[in-house]
Amino acid sequence: MSDDRPRRTALWIALPVAAVVAVFVGIAATADTGEDAATSELVGGLAPAIVAEATDGSTFDLDEQRGQWVLVNVFATWCVPCIEEHPELVAFSEANADVAVVSIAFDDEPERVSDFFTREGGDWPVLLDSTIAIDWAVAQVPESFLVAPSGQVVYHFRGGVTQEGLEQAIGDLEGRA
């Protein structure tokens, strides 16, 4: 009997350790990933307010856009995918005058943003207040959101957009929004 004692002691030590490890693995395995949570947080809900000064000195208020589709684009001039998507945004804006586009600069310099739009085109409001990105739960750029005429966020694009992708998304959602 006494020969079994070390084995039993080891078992009593191993069991609680195994239980603690199992619980920690369970916590890690069931935790939400940032991607899912960020997407589900906004889509389907009312769009976070945006009231900010644009680079042209005007004040942009998202609430004043109610009744029409709005594309909210978060970008930076130092971000290569943002540079790549820009011609698509310009083409989309020119082909869809009934959709308002607004860009939010993400951790960028005002002069660089102005130079970028002068050089690459795009005549929609550009906002310099990066903290708006937090309201929209944007951690990396580019990201874009479609806001329906009702004011609800109905689509979230993670990464660069294309004219075709935007038009298709609005076409698909128009019946439901």
Partner: protein, 154 residues
């Protein structure tokens, strides 16, 4: 109380004092900048591995730092700022796990594990002490006598 028990008691007290000293709160931050820095240290940079918002140089970390500072200057409380950031980003942004729910077990389990380990050690040591105090059997006495005989013969 035996000297051994007194020694253990003294060691336990020293450990307790050191633990309390290490865990002691330094008091609330003095300035808005201190408060903003302390808050930034409580959040993980959403796009980094293991860096807090205060430590990271990622764009989003810079933006969150600026936002925290702005909210502190506007007079919002730490709880309000924490609630806002947690509502915007996943729970993973908080470096301090929540005290409730399944994740709250991370606060409880280490304490339970330590208490269980100490209790286990106490039980094992007491058993060993009890074993050592058992009187020698006739076989043991015969063995000792034989060994002494061998020693005397040499």
């Amino acid at each position: 109380m035996s000297r051994l028990a007194l020694g253990w008691l003294a060691a336990g007290l020293v450990g307790l004092v050191l633990f309390a000293y290490g865990a002691a709160d330094d008091g609330p931050p003095q300035t808005n900048a201190d408060r903003a820095y302390a808050l930034a240290n409580d959040f993980a940079c959403p796009v980094c591995n293991g860096q807090s918002v205060a430590e990271s140089d990622a764009s989003i970390a810079r933006i969150i730092r600026a936002d925290i500072r702005q909210q502190v200057d506007e007079g919002r409380t730490d709880d309000e700022i924490t609630a806002y950031l947690r509502s915007r980003f996943p729970d993973d942004i908080a470096l301090t796990p929540p005290a409730s729910g399944f994740a709250g077990l991370v606060w409880v389990l280490p304490v339970v594990a330590i208490v269980a380990a100490v209790a286990g050690l106490v039980v094992v040591f007491r058993r060993w002490s009890a074993d050592a105090a058992e009187p020698a059997s006739d076989d043991d006495a015969a063995l000792v006598e034989a060994a002494q005989q061998v020693r005397e013969d040499h």
